[in-house]
Amino acid sequence: MLGLNKKDTNLLLVVLALTMLAPFILNPFPTDSGLAQFNAGYPDLMQRFAIFGIFAIGFNILFGLTGYLSFGHAAFLGVGSYSAVWMFKLLSMNILPAIILSVIIAGLFALVIGYVSLRRSGIYFSILTLAFAQMSFALAYSVLTPVTNGETGLQLTLSDPRILGSSAAADGSIPVTNLFGLEMRSAWDMAVGPWTFTFSAGYYFCAIVLLVAFYLSIRIFRSPFGMMLRAIKSNQTRLNYTGLNPKPYTLAAFVISGMYAGLAGGLMAAMDPLAGAERMQWTASGEVVLMTILGGAGTLIGPVLGAGMIKYFENILSKINESVLHGWFAFMPDGLEDFFVAIVYPFVGKGWHLTLGILFMLVVIFLPGGLVEGGQRIGAAFRRKGKKAGGAEAEAAKQQPGE
């Protein structure tokens, strides 16, 4: 289907089901139950899952295939966001032109940074990209204030021209982002018994873009271009002496992954029309590296899983504060309760980074292929068990006629 082989088609269908049913899957607990705080099915977070999924898919095209570790990818995300917000300010609140512009501008930006950075490989390449991203961050924060609005961040105002739209909505407020009239913030609640599921236009738009981005990445992985990128990771000397120039290949991969980042940045602004310099900071670049490695670099689905996992931790674990913990351990005697709260507390709430760090260490040490490798191992274990059981049954079947 769609020019994919059977295995890839199945993978795409799984992602299709996961993204379309996300409001159900991520809301397994009734709204009034004590576990409701583990529900992640609210539009804001689901949008972030999809957006960072796109970001990580793009990053994986560069890092997973060519092995070039960029530490500055957040710069393209930030550039994408700024471009989109400028489009909202100048043109109209329709998100389509905004997103197209973010992809183009991020692509051009990536072309320049990639052209310079790719003169080196290995750690030097990483340092160069990091330097560029930090430079962009510093510029956005200070010198480029007329364009980026400095530390306040770029926001919409009532005095923006919006030549194809209107400066202000009918009620005098700032208009909201939309796709040909479909407001991104509009949502529809569905109550089923004690559960409430929210379907948001913004999320579904992000999910569809994620699906397209994922589909494109499968095509790239399976194409001759993808094979060349893997060849670059494997042995650049041989590639050189096989009459192929590795430079344009790596540059193309860099630009494509920069465009994915720009797309993610544009979507971010489309969901919430503001852009700040902190989106370009090195911590944001590091986060996408974590996502990709946690999920499984070089695999198709890994980066999406990694992005989902980190964003879930960031938003759900961090909400668990001391009083919530006391609620959990309330059934214990007082002294014991305080003791358990004291032990668990550093790992949740503001300390969620600690849990993430430990998890990351465990994955890197025991599952170098990331969560995908974990899934494969579990799958293999089940298959072995299934085969053994099947074998025993066959034995039994063989013995029966003799009885």
Binding site: R230, T237, G243
Partner: protein, 251 residues
């Protein structure tokens, strides 16, 4: 005029004159060996031929075109394929993919952004690569990861990759270094087979006299960066200058 012409090439590394006034002419469709003791400048000469080093003076031309100042991939596209001392292959890719890459290089040149169509739909490339693998008796290993091949098979694969480009000239850098005698003999047989099946020029840099005298039609002896003699294997064997270079004058 030979297919490869080296004229008056000098290369100096600091105080060391690695190559001094090297002249060499390799005739088309012959096997030409370059031999010499350790430190004679064999590898330096080879690196000047493939674009890894640029000589200080002199000229190197291949099929009438100068190769100086060109990058390795450009020189490869001119028709020189290089086989390395330790096999350089794409270890993370399968044997089949390894063989497809040079087929792509031959068809599409140094760069082509072919990012949407799948590898599976490139039937011409797949057929070429498979034919090449059958030619070197490796078709049964097509789906094996190249890194898990034996040393001998890696060498065989590397040669298959070079030949898949249908080069005018195959350049071998000590192809049997560090090999057991049986593997060395296999490599010699493989090279003989390659030579018999097609019109190709082979230049071979080698230390092992057994290999050289089994294959070469012309031999150039290099010592201390300059060619001593160039002749047929029969004449080289008994040449006093060669024995002097190799055995220190008491041959």
């Amino acid at each position: 005029m030979g297919i490869l012409e080296v004229k008056g090439v000098n290369k100096r590394f600091g105080g060391l004159q690695a190559l001094g006034d090297v002249n060499l002419s390799v005739e088309e469709n012959t096997v030409h060996a370059i031999i010499g003791p350790n430190g004679a400048g064999k590898s330096t000469l080879l690196n000047c031929l493939v674009g890894k080093l640029i000589p200080d003076s002199g000229s190197v031309s291949f099929a009438g075109q100068s190769v100086l100042g060109r990058t390795p991939h450009e020189i490869n596209q001119m028709g020189i394929s290089r086989v390395f001392q330790t096999p350089e292959i794409f270890g993370d890719l399968t044997v089949y993919e390894n063989t497809m890459i040079p087929c792509f290089a031959r068809r599409d040149g140094t760069f082509k952004l072919n990012a949407i169509g799948s590898v599976g739909s490139q039937t011409d490339i797949r057929d070429q690569a498979m034919a090449m693998l059958e030619d070197v008796n490796m078709a049964d290993k097509a789906d094996v990861h190249a890194a898990s091949l034996s040393r001998g098979d890696k060498r065989r694969l590397e040669m298959a990759m070079c030949l898949a480009q249908e080069p005018k000239m195959l350049l071998l850098d000590e192809p049997t270094a560090g090999m057991a005698r049986a593997d060395t003999n296999n490599t010699i047989d493989l090279l003989r087979e390659i030579k018999e099946k097609r019109d190709i020029t082979i230049a071979i840099i080698e230390h092992d006299m057994h290999v050289v005298f089994s294959l070469a039609e012309r031999i150039t002896v290099l010592a201390q960066g300059t060619p001593l003699v160039e002749d047929t294997p029969e004449n080289i064997k008994g040449h006093p200058k060669v024995q002097e270079a190799y055995l220190g004058g008491h041959g």
